[in-house]
Symmetry: C2
Subunit: 199 residues, 2 copies
């Protein structure tokens, strides 16, 4: 199943096709493809080239590692994410190497993660980010050190058949994708003032 | 000038070619291309589909708007960014619509911004994010309301000739791009523990 963005203005096909499904095939991801995902994250831009992102990765073949990540998810997410062959936890390093605060730590981790997600799309994979996980449990079970922040969990795999989902989740899987219109979040050089660049 | 990533593992050409130059051509950006940039940001994923990102945009043809953004930049950035035909300020909405804190506001603004930057690359444009700007001045001059956070400024345009830059900036423009190795930021399901997926 694909669910391309119903875009108002033309965008690149990779961006149009990226979406966050809940149905995954149980086929594993080839290790070289996983390496490409992290390589894509690696080349994201960052404030002062601080590269404040980190990723924990677990594949289903390694049951103890996989379960450690899976168990951090809230139950509603475990229900469908447990079919994904790969789980990630993104982590942000809150200070620069010199100890000063990096106010872009989460922002830049988001940029690296979006690179990873777009690379997944390019490889025929799907990736679904989740805010719904137990942060303190992740911190403890994954031994995240002080100064590092667990940010998001990500389920990755090949797309699966929505028929595998519960009725409730299948309904969400096929419902239309919605977004604010561009004029609701783009303004002139004053917040709230319409830009003449947008009709 | 191009400066593709010297990637260790294969990544998509758009991600490989994205970089942050300081040399811009003064040719304006076609309005329909600008609209595609914002459309790309629009379709980024976000926690609870909160879409916490916003963008202020100024084109050089509108001098008062452009100068308002340009003057927020620290002088070192003004020096080269003043050649770019378009300046943006990204802004994060710190709460969800229901008033609860969105801990992913900056993260998701980063994801939307990376979509925008990749779309720029696809259109033959270059985009350079800057942390170096006066946040309080941006907040005041651009009337950013309480609950919203000025995040990053972005110079966008067609690539220019590095000969236009000062000796010091030209040297930075051609120096090799550096990144941590993947094994420095990807671990197993325990922080700091090497993943067997990476050779």
């Amino acid at each position: 199943m694909e669910k391309p963005a119903d875009s108002q203005y033309q965008i690149h096909d990779l961006l149009r096709r990226r979406w966050s499904p809940r149905a995954f095939d149980d086929r594993p991801i080839e290790p070289e493809k996983l390496r490409s995902l992290f390589e894509a994250a690696r080349w994201a831009p960052s404030s002062n080239n601080g590269q404040p992102w980190g990723f924990l990765v677990a594949v289903k073949e390694n049951k103890s590692e996989y379960d450690r990540l899976l168990n951090c998810l809230v139950e509603g997410n475990q229900q469908w994410a447990s079919r994904a062959p790969v789980l990630l936890l993104s982590v942000a390093m809150l200070q620069f190497e010199d100890g000063s605060v990096n106010r872009h730590a989460l922002h830049d981790t988001g940029m690296a993660t979006e690179n990873l997600v777009i690379q997944a799309t390019a490889l025929g994979l799907v990736a679904h980010l989740m805010a719904g996980f137990r942060i303190d449990q992740a911190r403890a079970d994954c031994q995240i050190p002080e100064g590092y922040e667990p940010v998001a969990m990500i389920a990755i795999g090949y797309p699966g058949d929505p028929a595998q989902l519960s009725d409730r989740l299948r309904a969400r899987e096929v419902q239309p994708r919605v977004r604010k219109s561009v004029t609701e979040f783009v303004y002139s050089a004053r917040w709230g003032q319409p830009s003449s660049l947008l009709p």
